[in-house]
């Protein structure tokens, strides 16, 4: 059986799509942020592979065809951003100022905490892209010599935490303007945060999804400066 799986082209793809559907179904049933379809799918697949003692390579030999679309899909993120260009032209100072301040905070806070924890360069660059969308963050981590899978884990923790805590943080720190709320959530917690911003309101959602790509590009630029610090 295992031999058959090693040669199978479709095993990795089928189990991935199937488990994602289970994830979507669970998310629909229990409406909490931790029930993220991606995480549920990954948990089921990892458990399955471990229980049946199947190597990651066997899974990946088929599943890699899914990831083939990662670059074109990341390129396509330009389209939702282009549609929101009017907003960008309307509030350029608030958007660029806020997001730039946020990205700088990302870099400085991760640098200082990595220093405090005594992390290695590899661990430090693994965490630097943790607040941006997985599509861009994976590329950053890979290019800087980080551990890509751990970057994905930290991006997920960030997204789920941001999604759960966004409303409380905005209330505690008196972030009341809808535009500011959206920018704050999108810059700190990418797409998973944006899901919450969309629940809060239309302007919040639009601003948050705009921040995903703008913060992503700004992070790419600043990582090259900050990566050399540890």
């Amino acid at each position: 059986m295992k031999e058959m799986l090693t040669q199978s082209l479709f095993f990795g793809v089928v189990i991935s799509l199937l488990c994602y559907q289970i994830g979507l179904w669970v998310k629909k049933k229990v409406k909490i942020a931790i029930a993220n379809p991606l995480l549920i799918a990954v948990l089921i697949i990892v458990s399955f592979l471990l229980i049946f003692d199947i190597d990651y390579e066997i899974y990946s030999s088929g599943a890699k065809y899914i990831s083939f679309f990662l670059t074109p899909a990341t390129v396509s993120l330009a389209i939702p951003l282009y549609r929101k260009l009017e907003l960008l032209k309307k509030y350029p100072k608030a958007i660029f100022g806020g997001i730039a301040a946020g990205v700088l905070t990302t870099m400085v806070s991760i640098f200082l905490m990595s220093l405090a924890f005594g992390l290695t360069h590899e661990q430090y660059v693994t965490l630097l892209p943790k607040s941006i969308t997985t599509a861009i963050g994976m590329g950053v981590s890979e290019k800087m010599g980080g551990i890509v899978t751990i970057t994905v884990v930290s991006i997920s923790i960030t997204g789920i935490f941001g999604n759960i805590a966004a409303e409380t943080i905005c209330r505690l720190f008196k972030i009341e303007e809808p535009i500011a709320k959206g920018l704050a959530i999108g810059t700190s917690a990418h797409a998973m945060g944006t899901a919450k911003a969309m629940e809060i309101g239309e302007i919040e959602g639009a601003m948050s999804s705009l921040s995903i790509v703008v913060a992503g590009i700004m992070t790419v630029l600043s990582v090259y400066v900050f990566a050399g610090f540890i």
């Binding site: 994602y20 993120l77 330009a78 551990i147 709320k181």
Partner: protein, 125 residues
């Protein structure tokens, strides 16, 4: 056929991005070059929105599924993950709070200042 043409356009930009990644000696992933190229193309109208729209929306929609295989790869880095589990969780949570507060407060400051200016300007006029 329209969908295939749109997909072909997106893949062509991805290919040009790969060429750029090869030529430019910077640690920037092809996907970033592609994203910026696509954005410039759309803004300059060299790439009309309808030539990429449908396929692009589809790809963006399935993005989470594309992350599944690399995330399952965590199986191969369990040891590295254990070594940094505590800093990873602390840094992820603390920096998320800081970023949210700073981004929110800075942009709110900018918005409220310009609102104040326009209302003062309005009074003068």
């Amino acid at each position: 056929m329209k969908f295939i043409k749109q997909l072909a356009n997106i893949l062509s930009i991805s290919f040009i991005a790969e060429v750029l990644e090869y030529l430019i000696p910077l640690p920037v992933a092809a996907s970033i070059y592609g994203l910026i190229l696509m954005l410039i193309g759309l803004m300059t109208k060299i790439i009309p929105l309808e030539k990429v729209e449908g396929a692009a929306d589809f790809l963006v929609e399935i993005l989470p599924i594309l992350f599944i295989p690399p995330t399952v790869g965590i199986m191969t880095s369990v040891e590295a993950l254990q070594q940094m589990l505590v800093p990873l969780c602390v840094i992820s949570v603390v920096s998320t709070i800081l970023i949210m507060v700073v981004t929110g407060r800075v942009s709110q400051g900018v918005i409220r200042r310009s609102k104040k200016q326009t209302s003062e300007g309005g009074q003068k006029a």
